[in-house]
Amino acid sequence: MDKQELIDIRADFPILSEKIYNKDLIYFDNGATTQKPRCVVEKIEQGYYHYNANIHRGVHFLSQKATEAHEAARTTVAEFLHTTKREEIIFTRGTTEAINLVATSFGEAFCKEGDEIIVSVMEHHSNIVPWQMLCERKGLKLRVIPMNEHGELDIKAYCELFNNRTRIVSIAHVSNVLGTVNPVAEIIRLAHEQNIPVLVDGAQAVPHIPVNVVELDADFYVFSGHKIYGPTGIGVLYGKEKWLNQIPPYQGGGEMISSVTFEKTIYNELPFKFEAGTPDYIGSTALAEALRYVQNIGLDIIAAHEHELLTYCTQRLMEIEGMRIIGTAKEKSAVISFLVRSIHPYDIGMLLDKLGIAVRTGHHCAQPLIDSLGIPGTVRASFAFYNTKEEIDVFITALKRVVIMLS
């Protein structure tokens, strides 16, 4: 990405020219949510102004148009994940709802007392708690894959967790704290050798690396729209047809039925079986727009630029005495967690904020991971393709100033 391209891209994101306390905003909290390009916001406006009508129901023109837009968005998502079966794409409210759906419905169909579920130590709470709730409901046990000191999963230990009670593996593609890109293809292959399906939490992966669910052979793959430049409140569950057909609906209501009598309800076919109620057709079309935007830039180009930012920032952070980078995996996405000496992350985050820099501090919704590292939390800078080396320079200068203040 050359300088002019970067300038043009940044111009697509109005929020990036905001001033924070009279300073230029530097937004390094992309792991939490990304900013939205103009075309995504315009798509939302266009939807409400020009084709707002409830979908799949009305015979009238607007309803038809809205239905087509929602279903076209499904096709866009299917293509984005490289599956040819569009009915394998279920729209949810986000990653969290998608995991809850699988934990509940898969758990209902396939799990009974004494069974086990495998997750890893670096999971986000949204890939722990839904499984824990299933464990409590049905008397299951959670098994946890450990990691080494670089923040890489211990694959040997993972293999040893399998037994005849294992029912499913649920694992992050990319860690939101450490940035580690987990070897999901290998993790899936090893699980499939034991005939165990795998859910991949792709929330931190899809904005940064190309994902092909068919090549990965993932059984379920989930992500959130807002982390990939789309709107909040919309997300995706990809599920293999064979699994989605075998598990019961998550919620009941309109749209997900084929016929209802007080004696018996026949559920609709895929994907509608899992989309009870009026779906977020405005959100789905805006998400599709975001995916097109990302694909137009090119995920390879995005990955290369973000890798450059990651390398440059890591190298510049090391100039600071007492710097400790948390997560040094060989395969790493554009996330840097760090601590400086014994300074509390909250203090660093608060003072950086005063200098116009948005970073995340705390446990990043991954308390078990933070506890296992024996630290109070981290400061996390996470990048997007619209970030620049110049911003990193300003960030480093600010961080040095903050560290002096707090030492």
Partner: protein, 147 residues
């Protein structure tokens, strides 16, 4: 001094700074000079968990007055803990229960009290008042100093 006089003193002290840097430097100094909480008081019952930082708070009754002590793992939070202790300690339960803490907003540190900051401070203020209510219930009605 009354609670409000103490609050006004702090407001005056902070009003000398235009720059946020100086304001935060003072807060950091206050945090660093807060007397560490006795290890015996760092027990689980005294922890107020925030999402990001934690606060320890201890309260004792001495001659009808409540003596607070506290600490936090984040120095900025510790600075505010120190200010809260300065303002509320050595007052009667009634004075504490009825007080309106306006100084934090006036010195421009309101953001630390936002529930989304999750640093335990909001819960700490609530806990300080709850201690006052508890001591009042235990010791019967007290009268304010000067009444």
């Amino acid at each position: 001094m009354t609670i409000n006089e103490l609050q006004d003193n702090i407001i005056e002290e902070f009003s000398m700074f235009d720059d946020w840097m100086d304001k935060y430097s003072l807060l950091i100094d206050l945090g660093n000079s807060l007397e560490p909480l006795d290890e015996q008081h760092k027990k689980p019952q005294n922890i107020i968990e925030g999402c990001q930082s934690r606060v320890w708070l201890n309260a004792e009754m001495k001659d009808g007055l409540i003596m607070y002590s506290g600490e936090s793992d984040a120095v900025l939070v510790k600075g505010i803990v120190s200010l809260l202790i300065q303002v509320l300690t050595a007052h009667t339960p009634d004075e504490i229960i009825n007080t309106n803490l306006y100084f934090i907003e006036k010195i421009g540190l309101r953001e630390h009290l936002s529930p989304t900051r999750s640093n335990g401070l909001l819960a700490m203020i609530k806990q300080m008042k709850l201690y006052a209510l508890a001591f009042k219930a235990k010791n019967g009605p007290t009268t304010s100093k000067g009444e």
